[in-house]
């Protein structure tokens, strides 16, 4: 295999060398090609041709005929000769070209800028959408039952709130459930998560009602047996409310 390849390379190399050698080797071909490539040659040709063509002899009789035509035209001239479009050979003002170029540049830049701006927006929305892609698969089934159940059942707005922020609601629910057990254990409530929960509820006293609202709304969305359990918990909340009132009395 390797020897074959080497042989091929040598062959191709020789072939390349064979191809490459003729142009410099044959001066008959190279000379004219260089002449043609030389830009000065057509220019010199233009100069020579131009100079030669301008040596045209001017015929006297033709000149006299032209002058006679000029004289007769001058005699017969009326003042009403207007300039037609084909008689106007004034150099066109450059302003128009600049104006047109400026307009083209403006349109092009605004077009490209608009495309760039739109593509930035697309990228942004994609970045925002990518974490939601997991939920977006979930939301259609969440939406379609809602649309089907909305005529029959009253609390149609309830499922939408957990579907918007499912992660945080779950966290809050979990914290609510754990709050019952944690709240009496020393300084556990100083942790940031609990502080956040208390802040969200608006005070230690309101945590129970806040959790009841959240879990209760989630229960109506999910199913009836859990509803029964959670309502049981909801009933337990007032007792939980009563416990902190005991807590400070037992702590000192």
């Amino acid at each position: 295999m390797s020897t074959d390849r080497n042989g091929d390379e040598r062959l191709s190399g020789e072939a390349r060398r064979r191809d490459a050698t003729p142009p410099p080797g044959t001066p008959q071909d190279a000379g004219p090609a260089n002449d043609l490539d030389d830009p000065s040659t057509p220019e010199r040709t233009a100069d020579r041709i131009s100079a030669a063509l301008r040596q045209q002899p001017v015929d006297d009789t033709a000149e006299q005929a032209a002058i006679a035509a000029f004289q007769s035209a001058r005699k017969a001239r009326d003042r009403t000769l207007s300039t037609r479009r084909l008689d106007d050979w004034r150099p066109r003002p450059q302003k128009h070209r600049w104006a047109r170029g400026g307009a083209v540049a403006l349109v092009t830049s605004s077009l490209l800028g608009g495309i760039a701006f739109a593509s930035i927006g697309v990228v942004d929305t994609r970045q925002h959408n990518t974490p939601k892609t997991g939920t977006s698969h979930i939301t259609p089934p969440a939406h379609t039952p809602r649309e089907q159940s909305s005529p029959s059942s009253g609390p149609s707005t309830a499922p939408t709130t957990p579907s918007r922020h499912p992660g945080t609601t779950k966290d809050v629910e979990a914290h609510c459930r754990a709050y019952e057990r944690v709240k009496n254990r020393g300084h556990a409530l100083d942790a940031t998560a609990w502080q956040r929960l208390i802040r969200a509820a608006g005070g230690k006293q309101h945590v129970a009602t806040y959790c009841a609202q959240l879990t209760g709304s989630a229960d109506t969305a999910t199913s009836s047996p859990t509803k029964a359990n959670k309502t049981g918990k909801g009933h337990g909340m007032p007792s939980a409310k009563a416990k902190p009132s005991k807590g400070p009395s037992s702590q000192p």
Partner: protein, 194 residues
């Protein structure tokens, strides 16, 4: 483009006011290039067409607006219109198979050295060997001495086309002027008559 355009400009202005001497000046400035152009596109009938064109130029001179370079373009377009009318009356354009006019022989170019000056006949014969559109573009650019825009306006073709035609024509002329291979065939534009 040419150095005598200012003189031509003043001559045109004075001739428009009725100055006969100024008209003679502008005739002598314009006629050689114009006649060369007409010889290139109309062959033997160039003198007749030039006479008719000058009659119109003399009559329409007050209508003209522009400078010396514009005057060259204006006269060239009038001459071209007369040449086309001449072809319409008398049949085929020169260079086409039915034309009575044959390009003069250019065998004597073989003696032309690269640095030597060409005679007017030799140059005309060389240009006559080009395809007609190339010859016209070369003549308008280098005999009438128009710029590219004016040449395009006279020919009624887009500027890039005129530029390409003139460049190809000059390249062919350069090849023809090389003494060693005069017999070389001049490449013709596709669809070109002759």
């Amino acid at each position: 483009m040419s150095a005598d355009n200012p003189a031509l400009s003043t001559a045109v202005v004075r001739a428009q006011d009725g100055d006969e001497a100024a008209f003679v000046v502008l005739y002598r400035l314009v006629q050689p290039g114009l006649l060369s152009y007409l010889r290139g596109i109309a062959g033997e009938d160039a003198e007749d067409i030039a006479a008719a064109a000058w009659r119109e130029i003399a009559c329409e001179l007050p209508r003209f607006r522009g400078d010396g370079h514009g005057f060259r373009g204006w006269t060239a377009s009038i001459a071209r219109r007369h040449a086309l009318g001449h072809f319409r009356l008398h049949g085929a354009a020169p260079g086409s198979p039915g034309s009575p006019w044959t390009p003069p022989a250019v065998d004597n170019i073989a003696h032309t050295l690269p640095g030597a000056t060409l005679s007017a006949e030799t140059a005309q014969a060389l240009v006559a060997r080009l395809p007609r559109a190339q010859a016209e573009a070369v003549l308008l650019r280098h005999a009438v001495r128009l710029d590219e825009r004016a040449a395009a306006q006279v020919m009624g073709r887009p500027r890039p086309v005129v530029r390409m035609l003139a460049r190809r024509g000059l390249r062919s002329l350069a090849r023809l002027l090389r003494p060693d291979d005069l017999t070389q065939h001049v490449p013709r534009t596709l669809g070109e008559p002759r």
